[in-house]
């Protein structure tokens, strides 16, 4: 700024008096410096108009899926090269999944009271052992038709099916069924993953990824510019880097509500929902988010819907005072409202009185459903735009 001022003063001098500046040699340098300053100034101003959104949440809460969805919706999506790059990921996911199921069946057969139903058929055992070995390798081989057939056979084994339905104490990924159902396609020679496949693919996020986008509305105006950040979800040193996100426009906190009966990947004695609860509390208390809006995405509603009938909410300590009221769709709604109220309560308990004005909204999401994510994001966009107008005093 100072050198810019100097530049201005200097040039004023030269315009008015047409005198040569004393330090003519430096004038080029000064010009450059001034240009740089101007650029910095412009970009800082531009930066201020970019709304920064931070995706937070426990591991496997769906943050990266939301991230991918936003890419698909508002950017050019995935090009062929990128889609191809997911082939090996998906193959690896398939091996990992079947390994977890087979190993899990063995474990349950040893420890559970009704152990017989977890015992794999004799002729499938060899397949199982083989696959389990493959799954433990660092690099998975390509998925061939033969292996795919073997996996399918194993998957259809009643013991494996039984294991799958009791998958909560194991680390069976939520999209296990999707992978198993599409084995044939995955094992095609010229297989290129579809968008759907990519959305289901599981890669643990390390570091920070960001995308910048502009949600194009029906009026086709470019509207607001958003930058979305996705950080890893596991229990690493969050407190060290979280303050780098000070002053983000909004925190999008993803909570997978279907995981109330599951344990953490990092620590299988800890209930995932309790971890989410603690994380949310921690995030709320951070002073760097005092002015940020909070959008809570209660994710994996599709899985929640089905699970509620099988597994009562009370298995999670946080939900121990839940009282089921009926059955069918009404019960699902009732359960959802209960969970929502719990999060609401948590929010208000952990928000300081002067934070009461920050926006807090809860959205029911199913991150894999593109239409739903689009609709949800439209609402988020509307809220943030209104907030902007309110703050500018225009509303």
């Amino acid at each position: 700024m100072i050198s810019m001022l100097y530049f201005v003063v200097e040039s004023m001098g030269s315009f008015c008096s047409r005198q040569q500046p004393l330090n003519e040699v430096d004038s080029d340098e000064n010009k450059q410096a001034a240009e740089i300053d101007k650029r910095i100034d412009r970009e800082t101003k531009a930066e201020q108009h970019i709304h920064k959104l931070l995706l937070l949440g426990a591991g496997e809460s769906g943050k990266s899926t939301i991230f991918k969805q936003i890419r698909l919706l508002f950017q050019t999506g995935f090009d062929e090269a990128e889609l191809r790059s997911y082939t090996s990921v998906i193959h690896a996911n398939v091996y990992q999944t079947i390994k977890i199921l087979y190993d899990g069946a063995k474990e349950l057969a040893e420890n559970e009271p009704n152990s017989l139903k977890y015992v794999v058929r004799t002729d499938n055992k060899e397949i199982g052992e083989n696959l389990s070995e493959i799954g433990s390798r660092m690099e998975s081989p390509c998925l061939t038709k033969e292996i795919a057939k073997e996996i399918a056979t194993l998957w259809n084994d009643t013991a494996i099916q039984e294991t799958y339905s009791h998958g909560n104490i194991l680390q069976v990924p939520d999209c296990a069924q999707y992978f198993m159902e599409n084995l044939e396609r995955f094992s095609e020679v010229n297989y290129i993953p579809t968008k759907e496949d990519v959305l289901h693919a599981r890669v643990r996020t390390t570091g920070v990824v960001e995308i910048q986008f502009s949600p194009v509305g029906e009026s086709r105006k470019s509207g607001e510019v958003y930058r979305l950040y996705d950080v890893g979800g596991q229990r690493n040193e969050r407190r060290k880097w979280i303050h780098l996100f000070e002053g983000v426009t909004s925190v999008i906190f993803c909570a997978a509500i279907s995981e109330y009966d599951q344990m953490l990947f990092e620590d299988d004695t800890k209930n995932r929902m309790m971890e989410t609860k603690e994380l949310f509390e921690w995030v709320l208390k951070q002073s760097c988010f005092e002015k940020s809006s909070f959008m809570l995405f209660l994710n994996k509603f599709d899985i929640f819907e089905k699970k509620v009938h099988r597994v009562p909410l009370n298995v999670c300590e946080w939900f121990k005072d839940y009282q089921p009221m009926g059955s069918g769709k009404q019960e699902v709604e009732h359960a959802y409202e209960f969970v929502k109220k719990k999060f609401e309560e948590l929010y208000f308990q952990n928000s300081k009185p002067d934070c009461v004005d920050r926006a807090f909204k809860i959205y029911r999401t199913t991150a894999l459903d593109q239409k739903l994510v689009k609709k949800t994001f439209k609402l988020v966009d509307e809220t943030l735009r209104r907030r902007n107008l309110i703050e500018a005093g225009l509303l």
Partner: protein, 453 residues
């Protein structure tokens, strides 16, 4: 005569001139369809049927579109338009009932000319009658047409809402809201054309604020039946309303409060519906917003209604309602003081509420100030709060109260025209407060002279 000139200036459909009255009645002014007039085959109306309809038309026009009725249509006795005009031998015309009454009182004169009547016959003035009929019918038809237009437009809008999306939907809703507010007849049209259930269906978890706020603005002006209200109480819809209460303009906020109040009147209402922290926080924010007094009043009204359900009281206390309301008390308008005190009184029945009241330092002074200041109801609530707080912690609170001038106020209550129960309460509280003082000291606190004690 003036009325014939006026006749020439009537605008008929098609712009035709009136040739004769018969033609006018048959083709133009009293043409078939609309207006609800039973027309005979040749266009003339039966005598009695005419009279009833004419009376009805006159009444409706009088209330809906008051216009200057031509003076020659007015009965000189009653100054009302004539339904059955009769002419005397003097040539003056009056309403039949009125002139017959005049005669029955013993007068055999013409009221306007004061002439003695040489002939007591009253002749029905058919010509004038038909003119009056025609004049009123034309305007009545126009009125009906205009109102039908509006109703037609409303029905059209409701139909279009089934199809349009996005910005067009928002505009249709805005238009519908304007019509509903301006014309009461439209409310029924909307209800009849399935509008209510359609509007309800537009409220869901993915409804944008723009659409939601307009829908609520319409629904709040309609009469909703029991089923409609029950379906609107679904949690997803209530959540949407709460969101709008948080984020909307002041008008939207007020509409949402009134909307929830409407739902609360329904029999099937359960307190769980309003046991939402977000709702209570949003309401408190509305109540505290001094820039919008009507918002404060609406918020207090709803909060009072919610507070009447005792299961929600501890939740209300947990969002810090007590100190926030207590702090508001000195600056509230009289209309707002009553609901505010009522809420605090209700909250005092919950243990958390009572201790919050006790802990808030402004409770006692503000409550004392409001005694005998606004209304008997306010005094009753303030007294009840003070009683509860002093009973809870007599040592602390009683002295605070007395220092704030409670004693003098209580004496005022006792001497006033308030209800006996209130006076009794005041006396008991006075006794409670006096316990820690000697008589002389206490009397000085009451600021009374010895003689009055």
């Amino acid at each position: 005569m003036p009325q014939y000139q006026q006749q020439a200036s009537w605008r008929l459909e098609g712009g035709g001139q009136i040739i004769d009255l018969e033609t006018a009645i048959k083709d133009g002014i009293l043409g078939g369809g609309g207006g609800g007039l039973p027309a005979g085959k040749d266009g003339t109306l039966g005598a009695t049927a005419e009279k009833l309809d004419l009376k009805k038309m006159i009444e409706e026009l009088d209330s809906a579109a008051p216009e200057d009725v031509p003076s020659v249509f007015i009965c000189p006795i009653s100054l009302e338009p004539m339904v059955d005009p009769v002419t005397l031998c003097t040539g003056q015309t009056y309403e039949r009932a009125n002139i017959l009454k005049w005669f029955s009182l013993g007068h055999l004169t013409c009221p306007t000319t004061m002439q003695e009547l040489w002939d007591d016959a009253v002749t029905p003035n058919r010509t004038l009658h038909q003119l009056i009929n025609a004049w009123f019918s034309q305007r009545y038809l126009l009125l009906k047409k205009r109102s039908e237009d509006v109703q037609g437009r409303a029905a059209e809008l409701v139909q279009s809402l089934k199809k349009v999306k996005g910005q067009a939907r928002v505009q249709a809703l805005k238009d519908l809201q304007k019509i509903v507010v301006a014309h009461t007849s439209v409310k029924k049209t909307v209800a009849d054309s399935g509008g209510v259930s359609l509007l309800s269906s537009l409220l869901g978890p993915f409804t944008s604020h723009a659409v939601g706020s307009e829908v609520i603005a319409i629904l709040v002006n309609l009469c909703l039946d029991s089923d409609a209200k029950t379906s609107l109480m679904q949690p997803a819809r209530i959540s949407l309303v709460v969101d709008m209460l948080n984020e909307g303009t002041i008008d939207t906020k007020i509409n949402c409060t009134r909307f929830i109040e409407m739902l609360m009147e329904e029999k099937s209402f359960r307190w769980e519906v309003v046991s939402s922290l977000s709702l209570l926080v949003a309401l408190l924010r509305l109540v505290k917003d001094k820039r919008h007094p009507n918002g404060m009043a609406a918020g207090l009204s709803l909060l009072k209604a919610i507070c009447s359900h005792e299961q929600v009281r501890s939740l209300i206390v947990s969002v810090g309602a007590v100190p926030q309301l207590v702090e508001l008390l000195p600056n509230l308008s009289p209309e707002c003081s009553e609901p505010a005190l009522h809420i605090l009184d209700d909250l005092s029945t919950a243990p958390e509420g009572l201790s919050a009241l006790k802990d808030c330092p402004q409770t006692i002074p503000n409550a004392v100030r409001l005694l005998m200041r606004v209304s008997e109801a306010c005094t009753q609530y303030a007294l009840s709060i003070l009683w509860a707080v002093c009973k809870l912690a007599p040592d602390e609170c009683a002295s605070l109260a007395v220092e704030a001038g409670l004693a003098a106020k209580l004496l005022l209550v006792i001497q006033s025209g308030c209800s006996p129960e209130l006076k009794q309460r005041a006396a008991e509280l006075l006794k409670l407060c006096s316990l820690n003082y000697t008589t002389t000291l206490f009397i000085s606190k009451c600021k009374l002279t010895r003689t009055i004690q």
